[in-house]
Amino acid sequence: MKINREILTTAGILIIIAVTPLIFHENSYTMHLLIMSMIWAVAATAWDLLLGYGGIFNLAQVGFFAIGAYATGMASIHLGISPWMGLLLGAVASGLAGVLIGLPCLRLKGIYVALMTLAFFEVIGPLIVVGINLGTGGKAGLFPIPPFRLGSYVFNTDELLPWYYLCLILLAICLFITYKLIHSMLGLSFTALRDSEPFAQSLGINRFKSALVVTAIAAAMTGLIGAFYAHYVVVISPRMLGLDMFLFLLIMIIFGGAARFPGPVIGAFVITFLDDMLRPLDSYRLLAFGALMVIMIMLLPNGLMGLVAKINIPLFGKRDTEAEMLNPDIPKTY
């Protein structure tokens, strides 16, 4: 792995997150916000993999988050499986759901993918409510989802540090997978399809296959962090499928920079804390976020990372070209 700007930025972010509790570990509210930021960072990064890199307008990502959360929630409450297995189960269940929704949708053209996945997303909420006999908890939600255990230690709400570092490990794993994926041949196939779809096809690239694989991986990552979320917040309900989260994740991606890894991670932290600071504004807060979203798209389409890439910072080495930013690990030559 060649050291480049993406790796430096990502490593920098992870180190800062790792040492932050030295200052804030006594402030449980800030710790909570940081944990939530990490959760959203994973979800936003996975979504960006589809929207930004894959050019796949999948709008059902929040649904996969809920599927991961409900998979582990239902299995650990009703079947008594360990929450650690639940994390895995959440990832697998969401990944499978991703394949199931991808099979009929991804053969369609871009705009139909957006419409179909949005419709699918809207169906999950009602399905959870009508599925009350299957143990979904219906409208009221599932409660209480058991915490993780490590030997005799039980994760609890008085001590957030264990949650914090567990979440950091999950974040690091997901960022590593994402980085590897972007710079794999699969990532190259998406660059090729975006540059010239006919030429890419004539050289043997199958859009459907590439799209299905990346959809499954993004869904699995989202399901994994959804499962963690379920154990962390103890209670889940169909309310998590509301618009707020849907739109907030999109704002995080746009703010950090779509297809500008690890932009969405930065977006997740900035927007989560900004949202908390603006809480006194009440309704005007979301109004402001709507305006921010439109303004970012109009004026800064590549987000924060797009802006940073334009500035030459000697510390980070020379400026990357567009091609290098997209596929730095794929050799330009031997």
């Binding site: 929207l51 050019g55 307008f57 009929p104 053969r107 369609l108 053209k109 871009g110 705009i111 139909y112 957006a114 419409l115 179909m116 949005l118 419709a119 699918f120 809207e122 169906v123 009602p126 399905l127 409510v129 009508v130 618009l243 739109l247 999109l250 704002i251 746009i254 779509a258 009440d282 309704s283 005007y284 807060r285 979301l286 109004l287 976020f289 709507g290 305006a291 921010l292 979203m293 439109v294 798209i297 109009m298 389409p301």
Partner: protein
């Protein structure tokens, strides 16, 4: 299921279908003409109802004046959206993606602006007309009948505009072939402005007509946007006749599913129906294959 039940389901399905047609037709028109997936459409639906609430409840105008006053406001809002958000994006790469996200941003802005101004609690509009009428065993409210009449009038007016007026024909020309239309002297920017203006009026009017039945709330437009979306995709993106057919089809399905299993099952069934239609006809009932 008795015969009377069946007739009742059918009547209710057709009524719902007409209402859904009203909601979806503006969305269909915008996509057909300008290829914009207009995700803030639902918010204009909400704003139409709120504007009507200001004039009808706060200022005590009657419905005739409400429409006369609200329509121009909606028209200007729609044109402003096209001019200041959509048009600048059209000149850049990734138009589809950016306009989709910008639409969501505008929706967020408008919905929470409504919440900030009008509060989170639902509001209601008075009925268009009070009273009921009985035909055989079936009772209709005047509200229901006026809504039906209004839907028919609006559908007819739209047909007349698109088929019989010069500007309407220009819209059709752009929908079929924007490059060709420009060559014969149609100004694309003017057509897009007009389309957004008219569609916004259609969204707002649907909001006003439905408000006496469904209440008005800041986020209420989303439910209808999603329904409009499914209807329009099932009917074939950009085909107004397809939108009409699928609105009736899904309206009757809704009445049937609601009667058999309860309203919660409606969305899952709609989604299944959509999947089925797209599996058989990948471009919807009457979708053209030309543009994809």
């Amino acid at each position: 299921m008795s015969l009377n039940d069946l007739i009742e389901i059918l009547i209710s399905g057709i009524t719902i279908g007409l209402v859904y047609f009203l909601i979806a037709v503006g969305f269909s028109l915008i996509y057909g003409v300008s290829r914009v997936l207009h995700l803030s459409y639902g918010s204009f639906f909400t704003w139409g109802a709120y504007l009507a609430w200001i004039f009808a409840v706060k200022l005590n105008f009657n419905y005739f004046w409400v429409f006369v006053l609200v329509c121009p406001i909606l028209y200007i809002m729609g044109m402003a959206l096209e001019r200041f958000v959509v048009r600048p994006l059209r000149k850049r790469d990734n138009f589809d993606f950016n306009v989709l996200l910008a639409g969501l941003g505008v929706a967020l802005f408008l919905d929470y602006a409504a919440q900030a101004f009008f509060g989170a609690r639902t509001k209601s509009l008075p009925s268009l007309l009070d009273g009921t009428i009985q035909i055989h065993d079936f009772v209709f409210s005047y509200q229901q009948l006026t809504m039906l009449a209004a839907a028919v009038v609006i559908a007819f007016a739209l047909w007349f505009f698109l088929e019989k007026t010069r500007q309407g024909l220009a819209l059709g020309a752009v929908a079929q072939d924007p490059v060709g239309a420009r060559i014969v002297g149609v100004s694309l920017n003017k057509v897009y402005l007009l389309t957004f203006g008219i569609s916004t009026i259609l969204a707002g009017s649907a909001g006003i007509l439905l408000a006496p039945r469904f209440f008005i709330s800041p986020l209420g437009g989303w439910k209808f946007l999603i329904k409009a979306l499914i209807i329009v995709v099932a009917g074939g993106l950009g085909s107004i006749r397809g939108t009409l057919y699928s609105a009736f089809l899904l309206g009757i399905l809704e009445a049937l599913v609601g009667w058999l299993f309860g309203l919660l099952w409606v969305m899952p069934f709609w989604f299944l129906a959509l999947l089925l239609i797209l599996l058989i006809k990948p471009h919807g009932l009457l979708g053209s294959t030309a543009d994809h």
